[in-house]
Amino acid sequence: MSRRSPTWAAVRYRGSQSVALVLVSALVTTCAVFAPLFVRTLEQGLLRAALVERDVADTTVVVRASRTGTDSAVGPADLVGVLPAEAGRWFGDPVGMLTADTSLQPQDGRQPSPLRLVARDAACDHVEVTSGRCPEEAGEVLVSAADAESWGWEEGRRFAVPDPSATAAGDSAATPVTLTLVGVYRSRPDPGYWLRTTVDGKSGFPIGQGDSIVPAVDDFLTASATFDKGWAEAAASAEFPLERERVSLATLPEIRDSLSGLDRTREEVSVSSPVPGLVSAVAAGRTIVRTLVPLLLAQLALLAVTVLALVAHAVVEQRRPEVALARLRGRSREAGSRLVMAELALTVLLGVPLGVLIALAGGEVLRRFVMPRGVPLELRWPLALAAVVAVVASLLAVYAAARPVLREPVASLLRRIPPSVAKGLGVVDVVVAVVAAVSVVGLISGDVDGPSALLTPVLLALAVGLVGAWLLRRVATGAGRRALARGHLATGLAALSLARRPALRHVLVVVTTATALATFAANAVVVGDRNRAARAQLELGAPAVLETRATEPAALAAAVDALPPEQRGLATPVVVLRPRDPSAVPTLLLRPDEARGVGYPVIPGGSADVAALVPPVVPSLQLGDGVLTGTLTWELDQFRSGDEPVGEAPPDASGIPGGDLSVAPTPLIVGITVTTPDGTTLDRELAQVEQSARGRTTVRAPVLCPGGCRLAGIWLRSTDPWLDNLTGRLELTGLSLDGKPLDVGGGDRWLPADVDVDGGTQTLTGSGSDLVIDFDNTGRRVLSRWADVPSPTPVMLAGRPPADASGDDFSLVGLGGRPVAARAVDHVDALPVVGSRGALADLDAQLRLGGPAPPGSSLAVWLGSPDPGLVADVSHALTAQGIPVTTATTIEEARGRYERSATGWGLLLGVFTGIVALLVSGLVVAVVAVTSWRGVARDLAGLLVSGVPRPVIARAVRGEQLTMALAGVLLGTACGVAGAVLAMPLVPIFDRPAVVPVPDLAPAWSAIGLTAVTALLVLGLVAVLAARAVVSRAVPERLRESL
């Protein structure tokens, strides 16, 4: 006969109980092991998102020096020592580079284009030399294939380019430097080498050179010897790319520390090192992860351990007779305890490897489907420690649950019905309730904050569950008696069973807590997702954004307007002007009507009436390169005849030549202002008005706009220093351009005039090509603007206006960098792209004024759909029109940047928490049914024998189970909502908090409702199945002693 282990036999005998206990133990272990695994995986993900997956250039230390400083011959080799020796092992070999800016006439007769000479270490190894050879001697250059083709450059061609440093030194006779073309290159994409340097790709694009627009020329690659002589304004740099494969979480602090020794003492040297900032970002993310994850999992672990204790208690209750037998057969109290504890410990230990496996599987799922590529699944010592902690905690929970039973005297253990528990709230119940109450009050009053406050929802749920269980007992007792008195047998039996069985009330506590945790977690996940989406939408502006290399907003707008109809309806041009002055307000120019249809409605605050940004205007009046003709008559109320006595000089008479105050009267000048397509403002004189009471003259004025221009305004100006006030009338009749009448009459076509003095007025009337101008006390100059552009420009303002604003009026940076008078017609919290500070204005109005985008601007096209096909089609169409698209960003990518963060990934844990919490509660319902079915079935058999019909019994059992599940879910949902309201402000949603958009922490009712329904369905199903199983075992034979 083989000897069996009694412990193992006991485990096998109670198979379903053991399985349940194993599962709960596995859950505890999973929570414990998953926490460090999740934390580590997230940290690795953060490392990759922040460092490893970034462009090499983003993690490169760049040391720059200009020869204009103290060292006029500094070269890359002189900069290598700036990087501390201890940092050398983290960074690759430096790439040295010398550059100098000059200019070049690409072809004879053309204006010079800017040119950059580049001598980069081993450049020829990273370009394709399509013809010729690599430069070796001073003055030898490689030109780009695009330039060679565009300008017809061939090998051997010589370029004479100025050395700006020689010119700046005052050497006007400096001989231009001769460069010899020895080959043609085409750059090969190699981000690890080129980093942020691009040497070609701009050939032919129009760029500003002084007042002119000229075609761009790609960089010339040359040998470093070219810079040996002259080029005193050249810039030297040494770039140290980070060696990615050496970066790990462990080495991060060392890398950061090694860079603290950067030599910043040399004045001419500047160091740009994003690495410490990135390392700090990773460190900050790790801090968030290490706070957020354990807290979420701690709640779950607390719930799991509580469940384990409850289950263990229920299981130990089942073992009472066995403990009694052990004592009866002479075993000591300790030996009897060991008998049960051995069985429970074995069961708990069986759950440990399962829990570890589940945790590892979860980690693998996380690694494969959520984290960036390359994140390893690290089996480190904290996992083993966590498993040990889980084992110890589980055993302690089991022991704590078993101890009261095991310490009972034998006679008590032998009783068929255990001694009744206290009917009131126990000490633990009261302590939990008090702690929860203190936490809630602390949260409301603000005395409790920080991560520990996140435990409040679970504490609150525990307290509510305990009190609810206590109330349930009282309510159920009364309700049961009343129901029985009224003959409602099923209801009465269900209620009395709820009142009588402590296990059911324990289930209520667990279900309440689990549902609260699941609700809180689900809400946190959805609220976090919602806020990340809102911020991504605000940041991006539209479902997809194509950044372009365009510099001419008008060209961009024209390209968009020329898109095929199916693309045009989903695209709109957007220009963002970012002044260099940090105190100035960035300008967001778009077409409000189109943007409303294409972009996201993410403008929070304010009345957000975009119609106010586009007031009614008249069509622009385009003037070609013709001659304006017409007749001008005038009547002046104030003028100078020249006979005036010599008197005091007018205040501004200092400019009069020779200080002669008796100069002859000079005429007034009538003219127009026009703007060219590039935004240049030009004045054109129409006629001179002699100072007399009245007069008449013929207008004949060339417009001089070869590229066309737009009528911007009409003005009258005094050139007489003695005449500082204009009052009278002008009549401009028959105004024509090249004989074609110009429709300028009518006051509604002109904006109110700008006058120099307060109280002055100018009104314009007339019709057709006749214009009557009445002016009164206007000062020395009066201007009326053509009403195709509102002035001041109405804007929607986010953030504070500039310091020099007058109320809502302030000056804005417009196209061409010109100041534009603006008036805030609406104040909002934030604007797309520019965020919490910026002004939104109508793009078309500014396009009428013309002008290129100033440096630092971005010109983009918003798309109303992130469909890759649309993105590709529009990109191609724009490129075909000469608008190269540099980057395409979809809303998913923008959201992804936030989701690939410590908070994004950390909150994802809420999904795991919610699922596990619901599983735990379902498991508890099942476990209680499993551990108590024998006794319950015996009770039910008694009812059967007493004549209670089986359907009534079935209804009663279902009723008690469902009532408990429903009560738990309702209480838990309420606690989850309360927890969400109280604790969500403490949950970090973003790694880096921002002013806008203000986090919307309103409960996500859909998620809460879905969680409640899911919990109800899961628990209801388990409860019904458990009820059915118990009822099916309720047969009269149960009343006999059975095994």
């Binding site: 009694p6 037998l325 002479g330 006679a411």
Partner: protein, 277 residues
Amino acid sequence: MRVVTRGLVHIYRAEGHDVAALSGIDLVVAPGERLALLGPSGAGKSTLLTLFGGLLRPSAGRVHVGEHDLARMTEADLDLLRGTEIGMVLQGAARNLLPYLTPRENVTFAQAAAKGRDRELPAAAEVLALVGMPLESVDAPLSRLTPGELQLAAVAVAVSCRPGLLLADEPTSQLDHDARDVVLGALAHVNAVWGTTVVLVTHDAEVAARMPRTITIRDGRVGAEGRAGEEFAVVSADGSVPLPPHALAALPPGSLLRVHAEDGRWVLLPEEEDAGA
């Protein structure tokens, strides 16, 4: 093993009320004797058996099992006593057995405490054979055993450490006649082979009739004692004599009696009869 009680009292305390289960039991059970405790439900016979097993402490009085004064023993000593000298069969066979073990394993399990104290014990199979357990059932799962076999297993477990005293609470309840006889035979066999004192509690008069001596407990006192089928009233230490039920019906509580010695007999004369005479 001798069992002696003197003025044994046991009071249950429940929800603020004291209930005297035993009110001064004086009893001597001789070593190797077989004794049945009879009496109606609630009379206190199971309480008396529990006190014999040291599972309860007497509220007053003394219980001696062998040389041991149970009231003075520690919990650990009582555990040891139960593991070596006292075997108990609880009411309901299944309550005596670990359901996941076979009869042999149950016996082995029950012997573990005694073996740990270097006690010479019979093999489990020997014990099972002693009580008459069929060989094919020795290693069978309990779920396959008949009720009678289950009860035999329970008896075997109780005597597994070859105790001097065997206490059995309703060992034949829920058994058919054949099984009952087998179990009673087993008890008698254990008594005969090992000289084990057997005290059992029963409601069944037929079972009692199979025992050489019976004690009837009424209202927590020894109401009568039967020997060889004849029932006797027992004079207690304080001189009181509980009347048998049929006498009590004629002489209700409060009746005045004269006690006379007549012709070597003791006669109880009610006051009226006495007056009439």
